[in-house]
Amino acid sequence: MTTTSATDPALDVEGLCVDLSTASGTVRAVDGVSFSVRRGRTLALLGESGCGKSMTALSVVGLLDPAAEVTGGAVRVRGEDTLRLSAAERRKLAGPVLSIVFQDALTALNPVQPVGRQIGEPFRIHRGLSRREAREKAIELMTRVGIPEPRQRAKSYPHQFSGGMRQRLLIAMAVALDPDVLIADEPTTALDVTVQAQIMRLLRDLQDERDMAVVLITHDLAVVAQRADDVAVMYAGTVVEQGTVREVFSAPRHPYTRGLLDSVPEDAERGQPLPAVPGSPPELSAVPSGCVFQARCPLVRERCVSERPVLRATGDARSAACHFSEELARD
């Protein structure tokens, strides 16, 4: 493996396409998604259910459901395209280079194995440590992620932990081998607000400590605002806008991003209607051939129906896929 310099992206995804077989035929779930993230930075993949954000994450770590297939693009880590590697070669990357934290810790953990053994497993597989050494490593990690009385708790099973504690265990496992890139797929969605804040803080501390690149998959705009450096807004399988969170959120250049930001009731006056985006996202089997957002867009006109807009620069290091993004800039 080649080493990378500090300025190279730790993860570089280019033109990723994923097809999904459904009962009614093959649909494109991810359509030409590109993004990259450097160590120490956090990129948020933001979107609503069915926009392809989780599918993108699963393609990157090679855990796609058999019904889905990567049909194009490249996923580069440490200078190699992981999509061209054999399954055995990819498994070597899983843990030391790329790892993932899932939303639902109860299904992600093995229910019939003590948690200490699960957390120690990466050390046995990748580093060939003995059972005893791996257990010590697991206890160290459990201490680090804030599990009280880790030595005793290592013998417990997942169902004996609270939701927040289970999420900590999952995070411990994901960072065990110091990955370059950590993908966090809605890591706090299932948790209570005060516990959410604790988990977010833990992820941030671990990221700083280990200089990881983090890809945060979320539907929560406020989490993005608080936690991410860069954002890629996804809609119907495509990235419709990307840039730094600060720029994109303060001056969106895609009508969908703007609609989402306006729908947040945070600053809304009680009794005043919220500016909602009409309609709902298209079914994957019925994504229109022109702009994916045309059916809900306030700026829509003929060109949007006939021609799919591509991502184009709307400023330094930001872009949007809209024929008329300049009109948003003027408001």
């Binding site: 609503e48 259910s49 609270s162 927040g164 504690m165 209570d192 607000v193 005060t194 516990v195 959410q196 804040a197 604790q198 977010m200 803080r201 539907h219 929560d220 705009l221 406020a222 989490v223 605002a225 608080q226 936690r227 600060r246 959120f249 609609g259 989402l260 930001l261 306006d262 729908s263 947040v264 009731p265 945070e266 600053d267 809304a268 009680r270 009794g271 209607p273 919220l274 500016p275 909602a276 985006v277 009409p278 709902s280 996202p281 809900r296």
Partner: protein
């Protein structure tokens, strides 16, 4: 709400002579017995006027869903009273009970699980009339009423004969709302009605709910973990923790000047979009997680996670602190030995 009002120390002081639409006082509800006894509600007071919205906030296990079941008459409290217009629903029988049930309806969280997939939208909306035929007795009038209800929630006539799988999540939630409205209720208990919906659709459903309130004067108990949604929709907010109401007041008072440390922590923990606002508030990180409801801490139940806790908090039950509202309306109350003085105390 009347303009001049007498201030009393009781939480949710009466605003007029007429009994409020809903008045719950001292409601306690336990499940199980012996060491496995779980007290889900412990002396809960709630008050709600016609056409108003009460936001019910708290984390899992705080008792908000049990309270919802009590309000719907599905769970009989062990102690305390529930009154609708002065009437105790748990004392009603037969026809009277049936008539009362018509007045309190519910909208569920999950629009995918709460609608029967084999019934069309029209069937779903008209199903409540099977139990309550008097509401719309005439078959022709029913057709018309179904169309009215569909249009009230922003659906089209043609949607009447479609089935749930043909609708998106937001549209299904609209059907759930239309179904709740079919009996002309005075109160709708909404249990996390928008949390299963995508953000862009959430706003649509919130708009439907507020529009219905101003047109029909229906009252809502709005249960949600999303503070920005509660702030937008509720007139008053009740915060619960482990079965107790720990803070109550007008929405502005509670959000701008929280008295209870738990409320302040909840607000600080919820991420906000506006980065400038986030920068002002120092984040309060609570210790640990909610204790098991089987083993509630002595004294103040929040003390195990509270950064202001002192010895008294473990030995004595916290007093009710009453502060008059900054605007008009309910007093701002909290259960705490060391309430926060003003925003500056924790920001």
């Amino acid at each position: 709400m009347t303009e001049s009002r007498t201030t009393t120390a009781a939480p949710g002081a009466p605003a007029g002579e007429n009994p409020p639409l809903l008045e719950v006082s001292g409601v306690t509800k336990s499940f199980g017995g012996g060491r496995r006894r779980l007290t889900a509600l412990d002396g809960v007071d709630v008050r709600l006027g016609r056409g108003e919205t009460l936001g019910l906030v708290g984390e899992s296990g705080c008792g908000k869903s049990t309270l919802a079941r009590v309000l719907l008459g599905l769970e009989r409290p062990d102690a305390g009273t529930v009154r609708y217009d002065g009437v105790d629903p748990f004392a009603l029988r037969g026809k009277e009970l049936l008539n009362w049930r018509r007045r309190v309806q519910m909208v569920f969280q999950d629009p995918f699980a709460s609608l029967n997939a084999r019934m069309s939208a029209a069937d779903l909306i008209s199903e409540p009339w099977r139990t309550h035929p008097d509401v719309v007795p005439d078959a022709k009038a029913r057709e018309k009423r179904i169309r009215e209800l569909l249009s009230l929630v922003g659906l089209r006539d043609g949607d009447a004969h479609r089935y749930p799988n043909e609708f998106s999540g937001g549209q299904r939630q609209r059907i759930g709302i239309a179904r709740a409205l079919a009996l002309d209720p005075d109160l709708i208990v909404c249990d996390e009605p928008v949390s299963a919906l995508d953000l862009s659709v959430q706003a649509q459903v919130l708009n439907v709910l507020s529009e219905l309130q101003s047109r029909l004067g229906v009252a809502y108990v709005f249960i949600s973990h999303d503070l920005s949604v509660v702030r937008y929709i509720a007139d008053r907010v009740t915060v619960m923790y482990l079965g107790k109401v720990i803070e109550h007041g007008e929405t502005e008072d509670v959000f701008d000047r929280p008295q209870h440390p738990y409320t302040a922590a909840l607000m600080s923990a919820a991420p906000v979009l506006d980065a400038s606002r986030a920068a002002h508030d120092q984040e309060i990180q609570l210790k640990g997680e909610i204790p098991s409801p089987f083993d509630i801490p002595s004294g103040c139940r929040f003390r195990t996670r509270c950064w202001r806790a002192q010895d008294t908090c473990a030995t004595e039950a916290p007093p009710l602190v009453v502060r008059p509202s900054e605007g008009a309306g309910d007093d701002h109350t909290a259960l705490c030995h060391f309430p926060l003085e003003a925003r500056s105390a924790w920001a």
